[in-house]
């Protein structure tokens, strides 16, 4: 699913003082691209994600997904959403949590993934009947990932999904996420404030200016995965991203 954003502005007028989260923001994303959105807190990256996911309506500008409005795509179940909190239903078992998500998805001719198949893919086959509160934080996020797969969507919107996890679990889940993403190849918008995570995952890193958010740098990463930190090219892109974050200037495009 491709994404076209033109001169998007979003103002939160109810706040005191009113705040402009995004100002004249433009971005074009090709179908199947994994894009990391990175910037300091409050730079509008989550706002952008919520606008794409039809959780907010833009004040000005246009935003289309395969030429359609976000609301239309959401209603046809083309968008899968995942946030920092695993947002599992505590009264349902792991299996029921995945099954509930699937219940909302119409069968579009092609067979659905089975719930057990999904649990196996995210490594939770043994705990299908367990309730979320008996699972570790990492397992809970894996279950949320399983639920994301169950959506069978062409666009994944992910708002710092692993930010609350410890560093070791986070790295392992990042690798697992890539394995899940590669065969399906949906378009991914991944909000993060972790440069290393962005570099390990994304085809492209979009750096935001501080509030109101604009594109400070747009860096394409063509390194093959899995990426190694001791690779000199990794280090080179890393320092470029660092300087873009430290001294943001609008409209710098590099590759």
């Amino acid at each position: 699913m491709n994404l076209q954003i033109e001169s998007l502005t979003h103002k939160f007028s109810s706040g005191k003082p009113p705040r402009t989260a995004l100002s004249d923001f433009s971005l074009s994303v090709d179908s199947g691209q994994f894009v990391a959105l990175i910037g300091t807190s409050g730079c509008g990256k989550t706002t952008l994600l919520r606008l794409v996911g039809d959780l907010l309506q833009p004040t000005h500008g246009s935003l289309t997904l395969d030429g359609q409005k976000p609301a239309e795509v959401r209603k046809s179940h083309g968008i899968a959403w995942m946030a920092q909190s695993p947002a599992l239903l505590p009264w349902l078992t792991a299996r029921q949590n995945v099954a509930l998500a699937q219940q909302f998805i119409p069968v579009n001719g092609h067979p659905r993934l089975s719930v057990d198949g999904i649990l196996e893919r995210v490594g939770l086959s043994d705990v299908g009947n367990a309730h979320p509160f008996t699972l570790s934080g990492g397992m809970q996020q894996r279950l949320a990932l399983g639920r994301l797969l169950a959506m069978d969507a062409r666009l994944w919107l992910m708002d710092e999904p692993f930010a609350a996890l410890d560093e070791i679990t986070r790295e392992r889940l990042t690798a697992e996420l890539l394995e899940l993403w590669q065969p399906l190849h949906p378009t991914v918008l991944w909000v993060t404030h972790n440069i290393y995570e962005a570099l390990r995952l994304a085809d492209r890193v979009v750096v935001f200016t501080p509030s109101p958010g604009r594109v400070a740098a747009d860096v394409t990463i063509s390194l093959p995965r899995p990426r190694r930190e001791d690779d000199p090219r990794f280090q080179e892109i890393l320092s470029r991203l660092r300087s873009a974050l430290a001294y943001p200037s609008v409209g710098q495009v590099t590759s």
Binding site: G53, D54, L55, R74, K75, H77, I79, A80, W81, A83, S85, A87, L89, P90, W91, L100, A101, F104, I105, H131, F133, M151, L157
Partner: protein, 254 residues
Amino acid sequence: MNGSRKSGWIALAIVLVFFSVWEAAVRFFEVPVYILPAPSRALATLIANPNLYLEATALTLGESLAGLGIGVLAGGLLAVLLIMLPGLEGGVMTLAILMKSTPLVAIAPLLTIWLGFGVVPKIVITALMTFFPVLVNVLSGLQRVDPALTDLFHSWNASRWEVFRHLRLPTALPFVFAALKISAPLAMIGAVVAEWTGASGGLGRTMWLAYTNLNLPYLFAAIFILAAAGMLLFRLLAWLERKVVFWLPANREN
């Protein structure tokens, strides 16, 4: 398991100490029975009149539970209605608070005049008393939905009814139990107060008769039954709560 058994023994010990001190004080200070009877005397009265107390308890308990049922149903349904039509919340809540602030002791005799000495006015009073805590608790429970989950259901394009069934209702369940635990003892009080103002039977009627005759052992026997019934009801609800809303941190095993 071990911990709850231990706390059960502690509770029993505290109750026993309370009654022993009471018993000892009445005997030591030779308190006249028309001022304060010893608990043993009240208990003896209870055992000597099993049918009288059994009938009165059955009637009062029946009225309480019927009123509680109606109050819970009405409060719960109104809370659901206010969630579906949020514009009504301000007006309805003002009316509910006005109703709640009216002393029921003042309304109870009126209801007896309007509806007679039968069970109906008792059930009405009990329902009025239990309605408000249920409304307030269930309403706040239905509103206490995790925003992250609301986002998720929105991304699934879930209808209002689906959000209600799969998200709001289970989220509100713990609040329903909190409301029940407050309302159940209130229901007993409601029925007794209503009986006190005029009734053909029930524990309230028994207490009123005993009070006007200064027959305090009779009065205290009825009080003991009420206290025990209220506590049993509360314990039953607490047990049910642990089974039903098992996902709350306080109810998890281990």
